[in-house]
Structure formats: C-alpha cells, structure tokens
C-alpha cells in the first residue's frame, strides 16, 4: 500500500502493521511506514483520519488516554517501542513532542527550558544548555534579557518556539510536532517553518499538518492518511512518498483529489 525508497540504514522509526485502538474502536489500521533520519516527514489528511493518533503512537503518548492500545510494532533504532521491557518514560525522553497549542509551563522562561534537562539529571552547565536550546529555537535574541519572566508572558509564536526549545533541551533524536503552527499567524508560522529547516540538521522531525502548502514547503516525505471503508471506518496511510511526488504526481487518485483541493 505504501511505498518507501529510503535506504534501510537511515530509517529512525518504522511501523509494522500498526493498528491503534481506543477501547473497541479501531482508529488507525495497517500502517507500514519508515521515517528517514534527519528529514522532515509530514502526515496529512482530512480531519478525524487519525493523524495525531498515529503521531502519538511514535512516543507512546496515546497511553495517557485510558483504554488505548496498539497491535503491531513501532521500531525505533531497531527496538520495538511496545516491548514489555521498554519504559514509556524512556521513549518520550528520546522522542520529544511539540503540541498543537503552545503549552509552556507557568514558570520562568529559563525554568521552562531547564526543567526537562533537570529531571533527567543533566550534569552539564545549565545556563549554557538553556542558551543553546533557545538559540536553536531562534528565540534567544528575543528573550535573553527576560529569562526570569513567565513563559506565559510571551506571544503565541514565541510560546511555541519556547516549547520547541524545551523539547530540544532534553536532546531527543526525534521531534514529533502536532500541527505546531495551526494557531499562529502567517509570520509566526513562517518562523516556525524556517526553524524546522534548521532543526532537521540535528533532529528527525515528524509533523502533522492540515496545511497543504506547509507540508509541500517544509517536508521531505509525506504520508497521506484517509479513512477507509471496511466495517467501521478506520484511518490508514494510503500513500507515502517523497513530498514532490505526493504533490505533483501522486499514484493514488484520492491523494490527488485531496492535495488539489477536490476532496469531499
């Protein structure tokens, strides 16, 4: 169903026959994709098709909702994340997350960035880490004089970059972004997109987006999700390829309809 041309040794995350259930409800079914290292992979598709659910399966955030479980495998660096011996806390430490709505802690800007590192027992120079994380998130110049102020005092776009800085500070390998720019204006969105291009040098990024142009602009690979008929309607990846293929000559008719706006 999905095609993949990425070389094996460059795959960070891979799903194998992944089904995700909310209780009895099969939300996402039969997903087989490989996420390449140091690339941006976009997940697109209509509302309610399970994009966010799939994204959360990558760092086991779904488990915070009682009754959620999966069938199949999510393999990260050769290790099935859903093995009994794997601690979800460890998974989330190595695969960070940025949420749709910026959610800085109601603490100082400094503390927002430092907290994650501190709980993992970071031994290095905390000031340095905070500065480098904020620099990577392209926020340092704006906040270097107000590090003691509350993270909530920043604008929406700044808050989202603070959340990215916070995720970077624990030095994950993968950053999952769930529509990180959906609540931002075009200028703030542009800054986040530029930032993602910078970040992909060091991190692998998986982004869920509703914005077709955004997916086309920023991502290297795109997974198209859609609800498929079959008893209950469950979401699945109907096509997965390089972004320019998905947007210019998709193999699946439904993908073409969707990316050209003829969907529905």
């Amino acid at each position: 169903m999905s095609t993949d041309s990425a070389p094996e040794n460059n795959v960070v995350l891979e799903t194998r026959n992944l089904d995700i259930f909310y209780g009895d409800f099969l939300a996402v079914t039969g997903v087989n994709i490989k996420i390449p290292r140091h690339k941006i992979t976009a997940i697109i598709g209509p509302s309610g098709c399970g994009k966010t659910t799939l994204l959360r399966a990558f760092n086991r955030m779904n488990e915070l909702v009682p009754g959620t479980y999966i069938r199949g495998e999510v393999v990260f660096d050769g290790q099935n994340l859903y093995e009994k011996t794997v601690d979800p806390v460890e998974v989330r430490f190595r695969i960070g997350m940025v949420f749709q709505k910026a959610n800085p802690f109601p603490k100082s800007i400094y503390e927002n960035v430092a907290w994650g590192a501190r709980i993992h027992g970071y031994k290095g120079d905390m000031d340095e880490l905070v500065e480098s994380s904020l620099r990577q998130a392209a926020l340092w110049d704006e906040v270097k004089d107000i590090l003691k102020q509350s993270g909530l005092s920043l604008s929406g776009g700044q808050q989202q970059r603070l959340c990215i800085a916070r995720a970077i500070a624990v030095q994950p390998e993968v950053i999952l972004m769930d529509e990180p720019a959906s609540a931002l204006d075009p200028i703030a969105t542009l800054r986040i997109e530029e930032l993602m291009q910078e970040l992909k040098k060091d991190y692998t990024i998986v982004i869920v987006t509703h914005n077709m142009q955004q997916a086309a602009r920023v991502s290297d690979r795109t997974a198209m999700m859609m609800l498929v008929n079959g008893g209950v309607r469950s979401g699945t990846v109907i096509e997965y390829d390089d972004t320019n293929v998905i947007f210019t000559r998709p193999k699946d008719r439904r993908t073409e309809d969707y990316v050209t706006g003829r969907f529905g």
Partner: protein, 433 residues
C-alpha cells in the same frame, strides 16, 4: 412521469408563494411582547435583590446583637467598700505594696494567704499585681445589674435613677466587656475576673493538630484519587462515600472520636505511651483527641476541594511534562501540585474555618467546660472558644451573656485573622506561578 413532475413543480411554486404570504403577515409579532419580557426580567431581578438583602440584614442583625451585648452600663457593688480600707487617711489606690500585702495578710485566712505566696511569692509580685489581688480577694466587686448597649445609650437617665433607687451602694460604669483582661485572664467563677485565655489557647492547639492531621492526609488522598486510582467501581464507591461523609452531622463525628480516640486509643491520646503520667489527663479527653476528631470531620471537605483543584490543572500541562519524558511523580510534583496549591489552600481554609466553630463533637468527646489552666501539650485537658461561649450563654445571669458576647467577638476576630493569613499565603503561591 413527466406530468407528475410538472405538477410537483407547480405545487412547489404555490407553496413558495404561500410561504411568502405567511411571512408577510408573520407568525412572530416583532417587539410587541418586548415590554412583557423585560418586565418579567425586572421582577426576577427584584426577587434576587431581596434575597441578597435578607442575607445582609441577617448579618447586620447578628453583628448588632453581639455588639449590643459587648458594651453597656454595669452596676457594681463591692463586698467591702474600698473607702473602708483606708489606712491613716491614705485611700486604697495610694497605698504602698507593703501596706497592701499587710492588708491581705490580715484579711485573708492564713491558708489562703500562704497559697497565694506559694503560687508566686509576694516579694516578686509587682504593686499592680498585689493591688489586683486586693480587689479580687477583699473588695470583691460584684455585678448587681447590667444593661446592653442600646438601652445604655437610649435610656441612660432611667438606668441611673434605677441604680440610685435599688442599689444605693452600687457604682454605675459604662464598660466594654471585651478588654485586655477578658482575653488574658483564665476562666474563673467570678464574672469580673473571668477571661478566655484558656479557651483561646485550647482552640489554637486543637486547630493546629487538626491542620497537621487533615491537610497532608486530605491532599494525599486527593492526589491518589485524581492521579493514580483507576476509574473502576471501587474508586467510584470511595468517591461517593467521601462526598456523603462531607455532609454527615458533626455530632456523629464526635461519637466516632469518642469511640476511637478517647476510648480505643486512650493510651495514645492521653500520652501514656510516651511515658506521660498525669492523673488529670489520663482519660484521653485531650487536645489531641479533639484535634484528631475535628481532623476527621474536615477531611472529606479537604479531599473534595483538593480534588477539584487538581482536576482544574489543565491537561495540556501534564502532557507537556510527559512529552519531555517525565515520570508521573515528576509531573505531579512539579506541575500539578504547584498549580493546584492555591485551590487546595482555599479548600483547606474553608474546612479549618468550619473546624474552629465546631462545638458539638467536642462536647461529645468530653471537652472540659471549666478549667482555669492553659493547655500546654497535645495531652492537656482543654476547652475551646465555642464551648466556653456555649457554656456562658447557658447561665441564667445576664452578665455572663455579656462576657459570652465579648468571647464571640474574639472568636470572629480569630476566624477572620486565620482566614486572612491563609488567603495571603494562597495569593503568594498564586503569584509565584
């Protein structure tokens, strides 16, 4: 088929026209009933205003009633007229300490004098203290009659005439029943010297133990129920029970406290397990029992309020914490608790305010009504302000009711100051975030 379609079309057009016509006459009569709607709104507004007014009036009546009893005229009669105690023409007020001590020695029985000397030697007592003793032991002012504030102000001439006619020896004074003496004196059988120090200290000790017991336990239970417990039938049963316990009459908690703390755990609450041997307190009716009983009483309230506060912490904060690879406890400790703390403190303030005013459970577990020594440890006998007030208002003489009114003023002040300090504390935590 075709003809039918045409028919339908015509029908539809007809309907359309009809629709237009009915719209022109309109089933709504715009604005015609607006005044009626607004009038009913005004009527309800008046109802709500009067409800508020009744509340305010009741509060004012309460305050008036208390203050009315706290001040007013009092007619005193001395058992021994101070003028008869002059020595060589020197009036009582001007006599030296030595003269006053001599007076005590001559007037009191030897045993009584020695007892006073043993409590605190006369050498170490100041002149003012000795003078107070003379007033208390020899002059013995006694209240013969008393009037509330309103009467004292409006019928002052009448009162003066009455006193002059009925108690020719009495001295009429306008007094405040709430004085430094009322607060600092221990309980006594004479209304002139009786005070509420014992009761205030008893209340403070009890509340301290209540807070130490109920706050950590209540917050701990709330954290468990909100963050850890899985939502099965057992946790729902526990939740229902906690909600119901919050509404159980306080006297039932008194009976529970009597059975558990006073009787079953007597060795603990009397301090016997700590090697404390004191025949007056060894029966478990101690400050500790009272504090624990009130703690049980307010525990459900604290749990429910803390649960509400914890539930109000946005889920997005928890997710942010988990997303960074934090453990459950790290998320709770660093994010849930700091953000819930103002709410938890508010709930605790409400609960403690209730505990301060409780009387019935303490009566059941056996609070003393007349003790004159201060509680000094969790294993002391005790009385509390509400019990003292209850006991004084139950006496037939008016003057005790005046004293009770003064004690009520102190209780209200104590309550307000505890609340105010807790609110300040809460605001400090709220600002920090």
């Amino acid at each position: 088929m075709k003809a039918q379609g045409k028919e339908n079309k015509e029908k539809a057009i007809e309907n359309n026209i009809e629709g237009k016509e009915s719209k022109a006459t309109s089933l709504y009569s715009p604005f015609s009933n607006l005044s009626t709607r607004k009038r009913s709104g005004r009527i309800w507004q008046l109802v709500f205003l009067s409800a508020t007014s009744v509340g305010i009036l009741a509060l004012m009546a309460l305050l008036f009633n208390i203050l009315d009893s706290t001040f007013g005229y009092v007619a005193y009669e001395a058992k021994v007229a101070p003028t008869s105690l002059s020595v060589d023409g020197v009036v009582l007020e001007d006599q030296t300490k030595t003269q006053l001590v001599a007076l005590l020695q001559n007037t009191l029985s030897r045993g009584a004098f020695n007892k006073l000397n043993n409590e605190k030697s006369f050498e170490s007592r100041s002149r003012a203290e000795v003078s107070a003793l003379v007033i208390e032991r020899i002059v013995k002012y006694q209240v013969v009659d008393s009037w509330p504030l309103w009467e004292s102000l409006t019928r002052s001439a009448e009162i003066k005439a009455t006193v002059a006619a009925e108690y020719p020896l009495a001295e009429l004074k306008f007094v405040s029943w709430l004085t430094a003496g009322t607060i600092s004196h221990p309980q006594s059988s004479e209304v002139v010297t009786a005070g509420i120090r014992t009761a205030i200290l008893g209340s403070l000790w009890t509340i301290l133990i209540t807070i130490l017991f109920a706050f950590p336990l209540g917050v701990g239970a709330a954290i468990y129920l909100e963050e850890y417990a899985v939502g099965n039938w057992l946790s729902r049963l526990i939740q229902t029970n906690i909600n119901n316990l919050a509404g159980v009459p306080s006297i039932i908690y008194g009976i529970l406290g009597l059975a558990i703390f006073v009787r079953a755990l007597e060795k603990l609450t009397s301090g016997a397990v700590f090697g404390l041997v004191d025949p007056t307190t060894a029966n478990g009716r101690t400050v500790l029992s009272a504090g624990l009983t009130l703690g049980l009483l307010v525990l459900p309230i604290i749990i429910i309020n803390a649960q509400e506060a914890i539930r109000a912490v946005p889920q997005s904060l928890r997710k942010a914490g988990y997303g960074l690879g934090a453990t459950k406890w790290q998320v709770i400790w660093s994010h849930v608790l700091p953000n819930a703390l103002p709410g938890i403190l508010t709930g605790t303030i409400l609960a403690v305010s209730r505990a301060i005013g409780e009387t019935a459970p303490l009566v059941v577990i056996g609070a003393s009504t007349a003790i004159s020594f201060d509680p000094s440890s969790p294993f002391s006998k005790f009385t509390t302000l509400p019990i003292q007030i209850y006991q004084w208002t139950a006496r037939p003489q008016d003057e005790w009711r005046h004293l009770a009114a003064a004690a009520i003023v102190v209780l209200l002040a104590l309550l307000l100051s505890l609340n105010a300090s807790a609110i300040l504390l809460r605001n400090r935590f709220a600002r920090k975030n």
